[in-house]
Symmetry: C2
Subunit: 460 residues, 2 copies
Amino acid sequence: MAVERLVVVGGDAAGMSAASQARRLKGPAELEITAFERGRFTSYSACGIPYWIGGGVTDRDDLIARTPEEHRARGIDLRTRTEVLELDLAGNRVRARDLDSGAESWTGFDKLVLATGARPVRPRMPGIGAHGVHGVQTLDDGQRLMDTLERAGGRRAVVVGAGYIGVEMAEALLHRGFEVTVLHRDEQPMSTLDPDMGGLVNTAMNRMGIRTVAGAEVAEVLDDGAGRARAVRTASGDEYAADVVVLGIGVEPRTGLARAAGLPLGTSGGLLTDLSMRVRGYGHIWAGGDCVEVLDLVAGRHRHVPLGTHANKHGQVIGSGVGGGYATFPGVVGTAVSKVCDLEIARTGLRESDAREAGLQFVTATVASTTAAGYYPGAARMTVKMLAERRTGRLLGVQIVGGAGSAKRVDVAAVALTAGMTVEQVVALDLGYAPPFSPVWDPVLVAARKAVAAVRSAGV
Amino acid sequence: MAVERLVVVGGDAAGMSAASQARRLKGPAELEITAFERGRFTSYSACGIPYWIGGGVTDRDDLIARTPEEHRARGIDLRTRTEVLELDLAGNRVRARDLDSGAESWTGFDKLVLATGARPVRPRMPGIGAHGVHGVQTLDDGQRLMDTLERAGGRRAVVVGAGYIGVEMAEALLHRGFEVTVLHRDEQPMSTLDPDMGGLVNTAMNRMGIRTVAGAEVAEVLDDGAGRARAVRTASGDEYAADVVVLGIGVEPRTGLARAAGLPLGTSGGLLTDLSMRVRGYGHIWAGGDCVEVLDLVAGRHRHVPLGTHANKHGQVIGSGVGGGYATFPGVVGTAVSKVCDLEIARTGLRESDAREAGLQFVTATVASTTAAGYYPGAARMTVKMLAERRTGRLLGVQIVGGAGSAKRVDVAAVALTAGMTVEQVVALDLGYAPPFSPVWDPVLVAARKAVAAVRSAGV
């Protein structure tokens, strides 16, 4: 039997999980694996970058799960600092350039894995190229920001955007002693939450000493005349002094290669795959991680949900498929957790705007409770908002904002959403209770009880 | 319309939740509510007693959610220090004695709620009545123990039993500066877990400075000649010096009244009810809380599961029924969480012994992981054990032992059990991920992945 050739484009979570899992299933005599990575690092936790920047994680290399050398020792021909420039699907080959030598070459494949990730959205505006303006997507990006911070004379930081990356970077910069201003376009930070819940985040951020500016449209980065950022100007003409500017306005799938090759892309520009993570219409090409769209099981449509945990699962599924096994990634319900200092933020399922967009009628219930019995030392405030379908009582979504111990409780709702439970079924769930862990009525259950009442009083 | 008369026997969680909910639905012109409570306190958190004893909760009254006066102000005729001695079901009346005056009287009812709770098992042995030997079930019990501890000259405590109450009291006594020895009969502490997981608890307890003695059959409490406990002797003849002895060997339903009245009891001696918490065969008698058995939805049989969270739900359901509404308590999956110092302990569903008893063939998977990304500061060890049915892959149970942030993760499994998910479905769950909250592969998902592999390799 001829040796099969696998080419992997992208050396982070999805790509290298796929390569590793394929290698576990097939040895070098059966499968030759070549992986291309533009950067210097592989298999690192991009999600961990803010904690390294903030100083909680002291060693950058702690973020690296497996180095290029470790992958090579496992029989993967890993080429770092090598960028794939073209997919030739007719010829089943890829063209790549060694970024140091500039040399280009073609590599043939029998099977192909695309794991090209995402890139931070960079607004087109004057000054965006100034020194001191940073996106934070790859570990190389993180290293560049770290170099700037260590050199930076000043102490003022502007974060553009107040999504997960924005609030996590705000915390990181606060920990490093910066005066932090977060400029964001929406009514409240964390637009992955409804504005009422985002408002709780806003209040908490302000209390921590982070300045937030809502409705701010960033128009220009002003430089000091020597090419270094000195301020950010908004469309309304306000100027915010900044020694460093961090872009946290989201990411978009990096699918230029796939687009040029004619592979199917969704409305967000992410690759479209089947449940086994094969690119639609292609039996020998897989895609996973931040460059694909995933099925939202609650909304019933594909979305771009760039998260390391999904990327790792994709890699596992792809590697199984490449190796001749079978596994699937059925989709997501939209669970995400984050924190900014002591405040934990979580969501799953649909927000009000999502539900409206999906044409659903719904009720909401919001309760203020605590993470432990009220009398237990350290019990922290915790607010839970729940959405349920008006006629059926079907759970549609949950958002949580609260102190330590709040965020992971959203997982209960994630499972209930997956199972298609009604809020009445949620009330009856047997969740763990002891005073250090929960009030005698778990806050999620209290929200469900209130949602049941709302469904009943809404009638049919 | 005549005023209806409701009598409630027992003034803690289930009884007073029922009374309060009934009062919310029906005013005094429609429903007269009389509640009898033997003790001085109502609506308190019995589960909170160890934390008050341990000093974390400084004020006993913080454990009280609603005082007798507050209940009376809401139109409930609450009689504390009044014990119901007899249920006359033919005459629809109860006979009660005022424990202070000794006066007895009959009270008629149209509807009756039994919420008589549980009593600590007290082994029959010489010396059990000595001063310094305490059960901890009611707040009055707790107050008596507190009085002993405040008087106690010595500094040695023996805890008999290593279930939830035993380990929580061991922690409490350790916090109060006692040398603590836990004597227990089983192979490992926490027999609500499998012995391999109980072994992790044992190691951690020893590391905290708590001495544990397995296989210890307590035979006698030795006194100092003046009626005060001075040591505990085991069947094997060992003596353990003790200035205070705390009994934590479990509780049994307090159903003497119900038994005498001929009401239906289950194998554990708890009252049997339908899903609306009506005593089987009686349309006008409800029972809830620690005096009933509940349906175990995984094992498919009734069990005695005395937990405040269930008691509160029962009360809610009963009060709705009494007030003319409709609500149900479908059953439990056996979720319980606890902690001893920094160690968190959780379980849901079936242990190996439960699964064998139920005649099920199963596989197990145990994984050691962490509560946060390994590189995140404060990430704690966390071990997850999962049981799945051998042929179907149906999730049967999960046990977790680990550091801060471990216990409530068991709720994910509780929901999955309720939904009847397979471990394959569990692997695909969209659980919250960010480095402060979880490794990129959530430990519960890793256990499920390993369980899937075990199911597949077990074949059919």
